[in-house]
Symmetry: C2
Subunit: 315 residues, 2 copies
């Protein structure tokens, strides 16, 4: 009985996959056991933008060299590490794209210690406006978020993504909004930013901004100036201005998506504080929401690895 | 006969008004004779943002002290010099506002040499979206642009203004678009800017961007990301990207205005190169355009001065 328990423990804790979420700013490495269970997590500031040319393997070894020696399990990576500025370019998959297409188009990078890194491809799709759109990393999160055909999922962030799921768990199509980057640009570099006092929560100002953004999304560049005027005339206090702008930009995003594609419910996936903002604005827009599981990224990486035959689904 | 000619010459060349166009970045001073004729022009980089606290009079004397000694004519100023960050705050006039209201609400600043500076008030109005909007300087240009009731006028720039004229030459209402500032932010500070090669004319890329902006103005923050993707995928060459973005932002602005207020003809007032861009996009939008006279600013300042009794209209 004791033997069996020990063996079970061993089997349960054995590392099956090293999963890297390697983005623009950060590298997060997880050691996964059976059933995508997270055994250990490490993070480093070694995002794609911070890594010197051809320095990716050194960064990986510094963070996870001991894991690689100890476990000799496959290494899977998703995110900007597969971009032109990353370790090796992983060509985009055309939408609709699911696990089967991703597993068949992994980019393999031989590592010095005899191991192999498998990079998940990003996705490309053409929007209703005829323009291309791209993602890298979010596709893997979507595959791990337990979504069904017809579901809509938003991933807030620097470049917020809205995705719609197709048959067989494929990502049917998606749209990117530059909401997070635009917010940062306006706060840090615009005349509007000069009127702001940062760091204070102001749910009321957020709601005012969101209401306005939802109603007036078709007049974005006028509305952004109105935020400045609201600061100038004192209608919004300097402490409330950052939240007013945040609400306005998120409201504009949701208003624009809704006009393009009516929706009943949206799954929200990402950073806690940002998800709460989107949920508030979605509620104001009359759209129901539910939260995606926190481990969507590692679950998605695990599922790609299973599909590619790199790990076996535990029974 | 010779005497008469000399006297006529003297009367014609005598300075009647010193007109200052004092904005955020530049100060332009004009010496005006009868009928608002420009006798001499001087410019300095001493915009409101560059003037040290309480240093406005020194800047003015450095540029125009000799004029003030020689001519002893009234001094009129319009623009950001009347803002909170300017020489003295000139309270906003509520729209609709015409020459009579402006002349009755000049802000008078006593100058050291016994002269007086008269600052034209800016305008404030409430938009259809319930938000305040403001202008400083453009109101004076509008009054000098020879506009009639019902006319619509656009003043392209960092903060582009669209104004509609009411009865008696009043500015009925207006809307600001942050087009120019947003363009600069995106080129200088965004990920999009990193893909660009600046300095090359590309009318084709401009037209593509304008077409897209006109059609998809309701999805602004998505469209801006699409510009980045177009650079990433090579659909738009790096040399064409600045013009593509410029066209897109101007197209979005015109699309948004048109949705709010259908229009047949627009008067375009401002910098030559920028006016040409707006005229191209207006043409694509099926809106006729005409150009405002080049001396709209000094004509407007003159008209305010006449209305205030500071100068006499020549007969």
């Amino acid at each position: 009985m004791a033997m069996l328990a020990r063996r079970t423990m061993q089997r349960m804790t054995a590392a099956r996959l090293m999963a890297l979420d390697w983005g623009t700013s950060n590298l997060r490495a997880c050691l996964l056991g059976d059933g995508a269970r997270v055994l250990e997590t490490r993070t480093a500031a070694g995002g794609v933008m911070a890594v010197p040319e051809r320095g990716f393997e050194a960064v990986l070894l510094a963070l996870c060299g001991d894991w690689m020696d100890a476990h000799r399990c496959p290494v899977m990576a998703s995110g900007m590490v597969g971009s032109r500025q990353g370790w090796q370019e992983a060509p985009y998959l055309e939408c609709p794209a699911g696990l089967a297409q991703a597993a068949a188009q992994l980019t393999h990078v031989a590592l010095a210690r005899g191991s192999t890194l498998h990079i998940v491809p990003g996705l490309i799709c053409q929007g209703a406006d005829g323009q291309d759109d791209v993602m890298r990393g979010e596709e893997t999160q979507l595959w791990g978020a337990g979504l069904s055909e017809g579901d809509c999922c938003v991933l807030p962030g620097t470049h917020a993504k809205w995705a719609w799921m197709g048959p067989g768990g494929a990502v049917q199509r998606f749209m990117t909004y530059m909401t997070g980057e635009l917010y940062a640009l306006l706060v840090q570099h615009s005349l509007l930013g000069r009127l702001m006092v940062a760091g204070q929560a102001s749910p009321e100002a957020f709601a005012q901004g969101a209401q306005l953004g939802l109603a007036e999304f078709a007049h974005a560049t006028h509305l952004i100036f109105a935020a400045r005027t609201a600061g100038l005339t004192g209608r919004i206090a300097p402490q409330g201005l950052p939240e007013f702008l945040s609400g306005m930009l998120i409201g504009m995003e949701i208003g624009s998506v809704k006009q393009r594609q009516p929706m009943q419910q949206v799954t929200v996936l990402g950073d806690e504080a940002l998800c709460l903002r989107y949920e508030t604005a979605l509620q104001m827009a009359g759209v129901a929401h539910r939260r995606a599981p926190r481990d969507a990224t590692t679950r998605g990486q695990w599922r790609v690895a299973v599909q590619a035959g790199l790990v076996k689904e535990s029974t």
